[in-house]
Subunit: 317 residues, 6 copies
């Protein structure tokens, strides 16, 4: 039994120190990174029992992924593979006018061959919430099929199913994404999407509240969350729109902000919080994530609640 | 003979690199840290002969403290102890909305058992200024007594005595602090207090100038310095109020700012500067401290005077 | 249900880089360290489900301990405490004629107040093997009582109970250790002791095989393992003596060697291996541990079996 | 055959990590640094074949310089010397109100004795553009003569000759600089000067466009570029003034900004770009340089063009 | 015109600090690594003009490879590709009984699609010596064909062609290797092989001198070099056997030893040295390589000659 | 009043991490280094009050030297200079067959212009022992004269004067050294020399005991110490020869071994130890120095006595 089970790929992220250039660095820091495990970490930090399900190469690199996720409070359910690589990606942080640059190196990773047949479906059936992102079906045809099967299995066993569109232009075209993702929508209860992806990928124009309502109506979602970066987020739930502003931050590392938001939102919803409260937790967790190097939100619930409740002192002593 | 003798605890501060999270770091930087030694370092950098008096465990950790303080220009007068720990504290830097977080780990440190009988009182008698902070008597009953005795010894031998209220809520309640500290006030010539502590601990409401005057009148202090963070500081001296704005900074590490202010103020007063000049030196030293990692102000008098005198160039070459 | 449950203290170990001097370092590496969690890690790496039971301060430091142990494959069962410190120790590596030096800073750690009443005894009852070391009862009177109770609970529920004498002269005298530990012996099935401790603490002279047999006879142990450093180890089991040589190593960090041995031995015994095989796994795991910085054995079963089976190539590619 | 050949000194720059103080650091990062090689690197990154000509000590330090410049895409033409030092300089980064501080340690470096006779003048003759800065003739009387000779050689063989005034007050007085540099002006086609140097060293008052025009008229330059820091730059070319604003940056390291500007400007002019386009490339390259630790602009032409063309995304993935 | 042109793959090697475990490290050092570029570096350090020819992805990672090789004195001739990965490999150093472990992650690297048609064959034709290793044809069928074509082109234009068998069991079987490599032998002038590969892959049993002679006779090689690890190397040349002992070393990093040997041997042969002298240079360069972290031999000819000529002092000052 | 006053140059030593190559490193560690301050540190650690007298540039680099020496327990007496450099040297550690390589960069350092007139001669007069090495007079003609004057001043005020020949071939020829040093001998009470220098520089052949006796007889020294590296040391004192073996070490950094020996020897002689005991302390301190990175002996008297008294345990806990 787990509160939140997520399925997808976790890469090892390799980053130069500070804002050094990737091509000039002699040293790389190693972090775990992947939308679904990022969500699991945030959910775990906010009080949910979270499990990450995947397939990894049976090497020191695959073990490194498990080590990091377990260290961050997540249970791991792994199919160990003799074939397939460990997915990698290189992230270089830059200040303006340089942005943060990413090189993906995840082709042929072990998870791209994962089939429902080899995965422990009982763990999926036991989960209260099942989450994956639009990255997973984009990784391979096999994974697209597996994602669909897992959503069905989860839905049939009564779990809430959640999907974050998370469009990645380096993986597929908007058209491919729309076709595959809308094919999954009937199995999805909670949809998360950036306003940009709603427009460019799914084809929904308008203000965020209109987009959320239109998506909910067309596809029958229980909840639709639309994120708008610095402009905050909103959720449509059962006919009502709830808005949430973003917290101001002095950003150290922007990667993983959206996943921190979703993980916290799901965990607080599971804990029985109202949509408006869950959105606030999501926004505060996302804000803290931006102050932390790496992709995952190393935060505590108490810290999130400090952000929610009051101004944090410059020095807490 | 020494210009400024300070008495109190120096901890080893352990901090993760940059803004990394303490619970996720594999590496800690080590710094010397303690209000009284911070003051001694700042006083030394601004031209005073400064000595730090204390009790330390006779271990590599205690020797590390002496090594760092001597390296920063302070003489040390140490009672080496086979009992008692080396006080530690953990500081994690965060950007907004994360603040800087502190975990104290200083209980049962060697200095908590320091008695006047074992300390070299002749060194106290030779000092021109004796300084301690409200942290010292808060550390143990023994130290509360020792602090009182040293203030008396210093006062009787003609030294100027200075006390910074420096209230720490993790060490005692406002009521305990008020009772103990006001018991010391008759032996104190120069009182330093944050406006916040004046109100919450000492019970003086009002604007900073009113608070300073009221404190001076009630207790007969020669000088009262009231600090107000970003709003600067002011001093009451001999019936006159002197105001000093804070300098703008791009902060790297805020810890130790107040101590840098006090050390520079005391050193310049000892050098014969007027109150208004000493305040300016204090504010400039404090501003520089905020740009330097760790608790102590690694600055030169020339650098302080550059801040005072003019805009610093982006590159000085 | 867990294969091996261990109970005791895990400290954070702080070490200068390489062979730098502690008093001159500006940087400390952080490792998890504690006999019982070291054993749990080794057992886990060798295939057992291992759980570490303890009490930790509810701070980033306590969370760091859990993070590290979970990362190393161990489940943690923690009583979180608002009182008590996180135990620390400082380890400085030196080459000859400097040895490795240790400063313990573990007094008043949270675990020293752990009582059976607050611990989840059901987890103890579910374990197949319960392990603790002689360090645990030495930490406080409360812990001495708790250790005795847990051994009883484990024994009554049918678990194999194991105790490593692990005498630490900085914690208690040989006489105190002997009195407390022999008081526990009736509840112990598997005793592990260094030959040196058997003589100096328990008062058994003679060759290792004689010592093992004498201990087994006097106290009715199922198994007695006697370790002899570079001279290897032997086990008395059911009247028979089994000997195991130590593997040659080029040592990087000797701390934790004995715990790696015990964890591997227990795991392989649980897996049904004969004593002689379990001893060999113990010795090979211990040898690998000596090549790894920190206290825990970051190894895989495959690596241990390479050491057992053949000469390792200089480069495996 | 090379597009841009530059002649001057490259130092090794030694800098503490982050904003640490030089006097308190135990660690220094090593970077290549020198106006002429900085220009060569920027020119090379923007598409020109660039060669740096100089004299270096035949030691690991001299080889380090070549290693770094070749790594940054520059060809090196070196006279190896058994006499003379490797020039060094120490750069400490500070945030406001601390600035970036520089200690030069370049006296008696090997290049100060370089003579035209020992340099491979054929390489100068093959260059399409020859560049040096006002630092080079300031380093020694010998170098002042050599600089004049090389400018003549380059000019006679049809190369465009470029000179950046680059006044350094630690090397000579404004009067000395003016006398020497104006002596070189008849051999110079493209003059680059900070507005500040134009006034204080060359004695030209007025707005930047007036200064540029006055310089061009008096000395017959083909092109005069006047840089104004945050206020951008402008160029006089063939009677027309072209203006270029500076791009906004979040600065990590300001050193080398001007050289990045010049290198990109020269490279784009050589590639046939109009003055206004070359200025834009210069400004964008300079902006990127400010985000990169060290003196040289580790950028690609594509990155420069992203700055020119559009807003960079916070994360490019 | 270049003295030595090598063709093959250069990977980025990622290694934990010191002897840390890969699965537990948070930091990786980055080095260039590849038999053919290792050979080019060693040849360059020993006085030859060396060029490395290959195909790389047009990313910061590909540029990193060029940066490193140019920094090490090698010219690079690159086909930049929009497709294909940058090859990686992970190297973990261990002391006995742990060996050095390698994880290759080089599949689908850009070079695997390199064709003779896209490579600058004129550069091959200008080379005095052309070198590749048995790794190159093992990487893909395309590369096997390209390797054969380049050997032919080089041979036809009069270059000496050299091939190191360099068998890698993770890339192909001994049978596949034998078939492909012996197909190349008619185009090869200088064959290098480990005695182990001669036996296991090529099927030549016997002492090293017998193996060398048999290979030379069967295939008509000008020179056959057989390496024997700690037992040194020997060469058959024109009917004569030359033996060379290995130098004793205190090894820091054994990877790349053989390539350092070959690069030095080829460079000294090109410089006109006798076989026996070239072997000695090879052995001394290989010995120095073992003291240097990373795959390439950062040495000077003077240092190699110190090893050849005399005992090196503990401190040279 | 000080026990040991030493006069000479302290450089900043810059070293790559571990055994990395200087020409390939991006990072340098900073250490204080100089024969006379090394001796002062060792003397201080062994219980003497030690002062180092010198002239330094008034920069962050000069302040770094004072910071380090004060941190190591030495008092500093400095003439601050606006002219002259901070002496530097680069040390690269290598394992066999690479040795440790040194590049000096100390020309024109501030101390080379130090005159007796500007130095505080009263501090020399108060010292019980005055020490310098043969490096000091080799640095400049001015320093040769100053050294002679200080030896005279010290001798006239009753101090014991000590000189270590410490021949450096990069500074002067054996003939120059002999002429200058023998000119100082009449003012020297304790002569220290390596057996190698005694032969090559001073021209004394024979076994170490014969050399010591011959030197003592010819020049009337009170004590002559002859060091023989791994073969230990001996002292002639008042007609008797005392021998001391070297302790076996696993060397981390050999630089500064001789200075550690001399500092400990002088400190123990001052404390009243017999020659034979002082030699033993010297040898043990030297042995510990070899295990410590950098030039100075960061040791305690207790650690030295552990080496003297018994075998050190692998782990002391």
């Amino acid at each position: 039994m787990t509160d939140v089970l997520t399925f997808g790929e976790t890469m090892l992220r390799l980053s130069p120190p500070g804002t050094n250039r990737l091509e000039a660095t002699d040293e790389l820091a190693v972090y775990p990174a992947g939308a679904e495990s990022n969500v699991a970490v945030a959910a775990s930090q906010l009080g949910a029992e979270a499990t990450w399900l995947s397939k990894l190469p049976d090497t020191a690199l695959g073990r490194k992924v498990v080590r990091e996720l377990r260290g961050n409070g997540v249970e791991t359910e792994i199919v160990w593979s003799d074939a397939g690589r460990q997915g990698l990606y290189f992230v270089e942080r830059g200040t303006a006018p340089r942005g943060t640059r990413v090189i993906y190196d995840r082709e042929d990773s072990a998870v791209t061959t994962a089939t429902a047949a080899e995965l422990p479906l009982d763990r999926v059936r036991e989960a209260r919430t099942f989450y994956t992102s639009g990255i997973t079906p984009a990784l391979s045809d096999a994974l697209a099929g597996t994602t669909a099967e897992l959503l069905d299995v989860a839905g049939e066993s009564g779990a809430t199913t959640a999907l974050d569109v998370n469009y990645r232009s380096k993986l597929w075209s908007p058209e491919e994404a729309r076709e595959t993702l809308t094919g999954l929508f009937p199995s999805v209860d909670v949809l998360v999407t950036a306003i940009r992806d709603a427009e460019n990928v799914l084809g929904y124009d308008g203000d965020a509240d209109e987009v959320a309502a239109a998506l909910a109506e067309e596809w029958g979602f229980e909840t639709v969350v639309v994120t708008r970066g610095e402009d905050g987020a909103l959720a449509w739930n059962d006919g009502t729109i709830y808005e949430q502003e973003a917290f101001e931050t002095e950003t150290v590392d922007p990667v993983g902000t959206g996943d921190a938001f979703v993980g916290a939102f799901l965990a607080r919803r599971l804990a029985g919080d109202a949509v408006t409260d869950a959105l606030a937790y999501g926004a505060a967790t996302a804000a803290l994530k931006r102050t932390i190097p790496g992709d995952v939100a190393v935060v505590t619930r108490e810290e999130v609640e400090e952000v929610l409740g009051e101004e944090t002192a410059e020095i807490a002593r």
